[in-house]
């Protein structure tokens, strides 16, 4: 993710475009890959591009996309949209976390974990993605951002092995 796409994403966030419009835009781009090709093609004139944008995209996104086209940054539109998601999550205090487990946690356990994450990271809301991985042998790994809480048997086994073979 380049600095430029992050800056565009911030600008987009500050325009207070409704989130539905942004996700709609992404959906349009993903469903017709030719669209991105056409918009980043320097041989197509800006006027034609604007015309296309007017006809295809939601009202709130039109201006943003036109400016992006004008400065030839459409090629990094996916980056911009991703950065937008990250930035808006951060602004709203939403934390994305991944729980890798062997046995599926009960609802109460899950709640406790979310509680813990809220406390640890000072987040308002936690989106916990569950992922099953039998190779952990037992326990779980909870990772959010750059931090990782490794309570799996595999991790402990690895640590023990390194401790025993360390010179």
């Amino acid at each position: 993710m380049t600095e430029t796409s992050i800056n565009y994403a911030k600008a987009l966030y500050e325009l207070s475009v409704p989130e539905e419009a942004v996700s709609e835009t992404e959906k349009i781009f993903r469903s017709t890959p030719q669209l991105k090709g056409a918009l980043e093609n320097p041989l197509v004139s800006l006027k034609e591009k604007e015309h296309v944008i007017d006809r295809v995209f939601p009202q709130e996104m039109k201006n943003f996309l036109k400016v992006t086209c004008k400065y030839q940054k459409i090629s990094s539109i996916y980056d911009i949209l991703e950065a937008y998601c990250n930035y808006s999550r951060k602004q709203k205090g939403i934390l994305k976390a991944v729980l890798t487990y062997v046995t599926k946690p009960e609802e109460a356990q899950k709640e406790k974990m979310e509680d813990f994450l809220r406390r640890e990271f000072g987040a308002k809301e936690v989106i916990l993605t569950l992922r099953e991985d039998k190779s952990l042998i037992g326990g779980f790994i909870l990772s959010a951002g750059d931090k990782e809480f490794d309570w799996s048997l595999r991790g402990r086994y690895n640590n023990l092995r390194q401790k025993l073979t360390r010179r």
């Binding site: 380049t2 750059d146 990782e148 809480f149 490794d150 640590n159 390194q162 401790k163």
Partner: protein
């Protein structure tokens, strides 16, 4: 290590596992994006510091060397097998360092301070960062105590003091390592700890050096740091700093340390490889912009501390290999300007049998003069000028047929001096032997000796001094001065010996 029976080993293992109850803490973890040639690019671990140690999933250690906007470049301290895209990397929050301790003396260790001589674990008394700032101005003291190399040509004309940095520079096969090794051998019983750092050498060469040291009993006060040519560039890059960390441990305890970096041109090459792989822009000779800093920060750590700061010293003998005698290449000029003098060894001299092949005109010692013993200073006073005059006149030897008497005498005297400066390997001369030799020679008491027989004559004369007049040698060693009466006495005894041996 003594052999253990399997039961014992199993019980130790069981105990270890039983006591293993490490509750895993939260870790800052990133993932490897790409890896190759001893460099790994890592995404995540946004808060990693420059120079911090990171551990990979398989236990391999690395060091943060490059922090970019969205990724981090790490150098790997070992083989990169087993590291692939997606491998997890954890921060340790620690600067790279090596274990240090008195038990390291007499051992051979790798760049990270782990023993490689098969003599078991080394008990460490502490842990010192590899990159440590050099002592400041207030902590330092000027160089006043000599560090004797035992090599006549160096001790007389380019004396080295404790805390000095003297570069040994020359082409391949000119005896650079030998000069450094002879210096280590001469430190026996002088309360100097020696550290030999081999950077990018052949393993066979290191083995040979170690056996030489062992043969002369020099391993009792020497540590060898070795990073051979087969080690990866990061290890070769780190090894001189690791050696210096151990040296600093001794220096701050008030000990005198002699460091030999063999050699810094290979160190610069290893760093160049690293830097190019880290995508830093290449400069002159493809070295990165900070090669000067690479060596200056290393050699700046050699110093002499005042009593308040600990009172020890680190004397550095860096070695640089030149290509075809080119002193004006990038790395040689850099290191020449950093050090307090250089000993220039020349292949022409070496091949003509002048060993050590010290080029008297180009070698210099900028601070050692203050450290030289008074006796030596007086005895060697005129040697440099005499040799310079001899070299100027040497061309005339070709027209030897019609030279006047004075010139013939001067040439004979000069060639005699040159002969005296030759010295075989591993045969250091003590201070009084050097002073007596020079005193006798400069007072022309050895003029009648044939050039070919000069070395044997010198040995016989020194033996005669030691057996017949041991008090002369003792006085020089104790008082380290050469009053006129003593000089006269030496000349008289030398003449007496000349008469006898005729």
């Amino acid at each position: 290590m003594a052999a253990m029976n399997p039961d014992e080993i199993i019980s130790i293992l069981k105990e270890e596992i039983k006591n293993y109850d490490e509750i895993s803490k939260d870790q800052e973890v990133g993932t490897v994006i790409s890896v190759g040639d001893g460099i790994a690019t890592v995404h995540g671990i946004d808060h990693a510091m420059y120079g911090e140690v990171v551990t990979f999933e398989n236990g391999l250690k690395g060091m943060v060397q490059d922090i970019r906007a969205n990724s981090i470049g790490c150098i790997l301290f070992g083989k990169d097998t087993g590291i692939k895209e997606g491998t997890k990397v954890a921060r340790t929050q620690k600067q790279a360092g090596v274990p240090v301790g008195d038990a390291f003396i007499g051992r051979i260790v790798n760049a990270l301070g782990a023993p490689i001589d098969g003599k078991g674990e080394i008990k460490a008394d502490g842990y010192r960062p590899v990159e440590n700032p050099a002592p400041g101005i207030i902590d330092r003291k000027s160089v006043t105590v000599p560090l004797e190399t035992g090599i006549l040509s160096i001790d007389s004309m380019f004396p080295i003091g404790r805390g000095q940095r003297e570069l040994i520079i020359g082409d391949r096969q000119t005896g650079k390592t030998s000069v450094a090794l002879d210096t280590i051998l001469n430190q026996k019983g002088k309360d100097v700890i020696c550290i030999y750092v081999a950077i990018g050498q052949k393993a066979s060469t290191v083995a040979k050096i170690v056996s030489t040291l062992e043969k002369h009993g020099a391993m009792d006060y020497t540590t060898v740091f070795s990073s051979t040519a087969s080690d990866c560039a990061p290890l070769q890059y780190i090894v001189p700093y690791a050696g210096t960390a151990l040296a600093e441990y001794f220096m701050y305890k008030g000990k005198d340390v002699l460091m030999v970096y063999d050699d810094l041109s290979k160190h610069a090459v290893a760093y160049r490889a690293l830097s190019l792989l880290l995508e830093r822009s290449p400069g002159r000779e493809a070295y990165p912009g900070d090669v000067f800093y690479l060596h200056s920060r290393l050699l700046e750590r050699s110093s002499r501390l005042n009593e308040k700061a600990g009172g020890g010293s680190i004397t550095a003998l860096p070695i640089i290999e030149t290509q075809a005698g080119d002193l004006s290449a990038y790395i040689p000029t850099n290191v020449i300007s950093i050090t307090d003098g250089q000993i220039f060894l020349e292949s022409d001299l070496f091949n003509s049998g002048m060993r050590p092949a010290v080029n008297v005109g180009l070698s210099v010692s900028r601070v050692g003069g203050a450290a030289q013993a008074k006796a030596m200073k007086k005895a060697a006073g005129s040697v440099r000028i005499d040799l310079a005059q001899y070299r100027e006149m040497e061309i005339f030897t070709q027209f030897s047929s019609d030279l006047d008497e004075a010139t013939t005498q001067q040439l004979k005297y000069g060639s005699g001096l040159m002969e005296l400066l030759k010295q075989p390997l591993s045969s250091p001369l003590s201070l009084h032997e050097q002073v007596i030799t020079l005193c006798a020679a400069t007072h022309k008491a050895m003029m009648d000796v044939e050039t070919k027989k000069m070395k044997k004559y010198q040995r016989d004369m020194l033996d005669y001094f030691d057996s017949a007049y041991p008090e002369i040698g003792r006085e020089i060693e104790e008082k380290r001065q050469l009053p006129d009466e003593l000089a006269e006495k030496i000349v008289k005894v030398a003449e007496e010996f000349a008469d006898k041996s005729r």
